[in-house]
Symmetry: C2
Subunit: 308 residues, 2 copies
Amino acid sequence: MSKLVIVGTVAFDAIETPFGKTDKILGGAGTFIALAASKFNINSAVVSVVGGDFPPKYLDFMSEQNIDISGIEIVKEGKTFFWSGKYHNDMNSRDTLTTELNVLENFEPKVPEDYKDAEVVMLGNLHPLTQISVLNQMTKKPKLVVLDTMNFWMDCALNDLHNTMRHVDVITINDEEARQLTGEYSLVVAARKIYEMGPKFVVIKKGEHGALLFHDDNVFFAPALPLEEVFDPTGAGDTFAGGFVGYLTKTEDYSFENMKTAVIYGSTLASFCVEKFGTERMQNLNDSEVYKRLDQFKSLTQFDIELT
Amino acid sequence: MSKLVIVGTVAFDAIETPFGKTDKILGGAGTFIALAASKFNINSAVVSVVGGDFPPKYLDFMSEQNIDISGIEIVKEGKTFFWSGKYHNDMNSRDTLTTELNVLENFEPKVPEDYKDAEVVMLGNLHPLTQISVLNQMTKKPKLVVLDTMNFWMDCALNDLHNTMRHVDVITINDEEARQLTGEYSLVVAARKIYEMGPKFVVIKKGEHGALLFHDDNVFFAPALPLEEVFDPTGAGDTFAGGFVGYLTKTEDYSFENMKTAVIYGSTLASFCVEKFGTERMQNLNDSEVYKRLDQFKSLTQFDIELT
C-alpha cells in the first residue's frame, strides 16, 4: 500500500464568523490535510512542530485516525503556532487578527524513517525552503509531489518558490495567486505558464466557485457544492488538498483521468469542512455521508446530451 | 413545431475593451437572444423597436436567420436605443458611458398575430411593465415563460417586477441580483425564496464562474468554458438565455432534466459570443463548431466515480 507524507502546520486557530466565535481550537494546514486524507484508510504521516502547550488529546485524536504523528516534533518550552481571523459577512474575505509563528519560526521538518520512501508527498503551505527540505529527505523519488502555496511566498520568497516548484508534479493555488504568479489573467494561459515552472498538473481553487484541474491541453472543472450555509471556510482549501492526495495515494493512479475523480473527492470533503467551526465536522464524518454527497456532486454536474 | 416569441432591445452598442474599441455596432438583448435561439432552426419572432437610423441590412440579416422581424417597430423619426460601455482589465466589470433610450422610451410592444399562441415566451431585460404587456397579448397560455431582469428594475420598479414574476416559470438573474432580490447570501436559500415569488425554476448566472439551475430541491451547475481570451463579454448573458430557450423550444420538453441540457447549450453558445466584438462571432458560427464545443463541455465536467 502506498504511503503519504504531509508537511504542514499543526496549530491553534481562533475564528470569528457572523455565526459566532471560537477560543483556540485545533487547526493548521497539516491537520486539515491529514484529517481529509485519513478518510481513505491509507498510511499517512504528518511532519510538523507544536509547542508544550499543545494538548496531547489532539495528538491522540490524530493517532486514532491512523495518522502517524512521529514526525510532529514537540518543543516543550515553545508555544504552538497560532492564527486568528475574522470573516466578513460574505464569508469570502477575512481579516487576519493574529499570526504568532512561535515554534514554527525555527521549524526544521524531519521525515520519519518509515516515510522516507513514501510514494506521495504533500507539501502544505509553508516557506518553500521548508517544503524542499522534506523532498531532500526522501530516499526514493516520490511518484507524486503536490505543492500548496500562497501569495505571501510569491511576495517574499519568489526565488525559493520557483526552486521548489521545479520538483513538483501538482500545484494547488487559488485563482488570484495563479494570476500573480504568471501575470496572466486568463487561467488557461496562466496554467500553461505554470507548466513551464515545473508542475505538469495545475489545480486552481476558486473557493465557492469550485476548482479547475489543468494538464496539457486538458481541463476539468469541479464546482463547489451549493450550500445553504457556509459556517466557517477555515481549512476548506487544505481539506480539498487532503482529499485529493488521499484518493490518489489510495488508488495509486496518478493519471489525469484519475485526478478528475480526486478533485471531486477533494471538493466533496471540503463541502463538509465548512459546515462547522475548524475541524469539528471532519472529526464527525462517516463514509455514508461522503457517499451521499458524492451522489449529489453527480446530480449537480452530470448531463446527457444528444447532438440535435 | 413550437414557436418562440422574444421581447428585448434591438440596439446600437459601442464597446471598449482592453483589446480595442468599436463604433456603433449591432447589439441589444433581443438581438443576442434571437441570434442564439436561431441556431436551433425554430420559428421565432422578436418584438422590439428601432429608429429610422437603424440600418435595414441588420434587419435583413436577422430575417435571413429565420427570425421573424414583423414585431420590430420602426419609428422613422426616432433614434435607436444606444448603449456604450468600457470594460476594465479583468473584463468582469464595466462602466456604462452612455445610455440613450431614444425610441425605447415610449416602446409599446406588439406581438405579431402569428405569435400570439407561441408556446414559449422569452422576456428579455426591460421594464417589468413592458414585459407583462407581452404576456397580456398572448391568446393562449404559453407552456414556458422565461424572464430575464436586472438590479436596475429591483431598484426602481420592484413592485412591477414582483407582479410580472408571478406569471413566469423561469427567471434568469446573476448572483448579486439574486442576493439583492431576496436578502439572502446563500444562493440555495435565495432560490427557494424566489420560488415563492413565482418562478419554479431559477437560473443564476455567475459570468466566468458558470450558471446554476435550481428547481425544488434539485440543483444543476454548468461551468463557463475556461477560455484563453475573453474578448468582449457584451451579450453573453443574453446569448446564454437565447440558447436556453431555443433548445427548450426545439425539444418541447420543459422538464428539469431537459433544462440541464438547455443550460449546457446556453453556456456553449455564450462561450462563442465573448470571442469577438458584439454579435460578430454569433454571425459566423456553424453547427460543427457548436458540436465540438459541446464535447469540450462534456470533457470539462463529466467524471466516473466508483465509491471506494
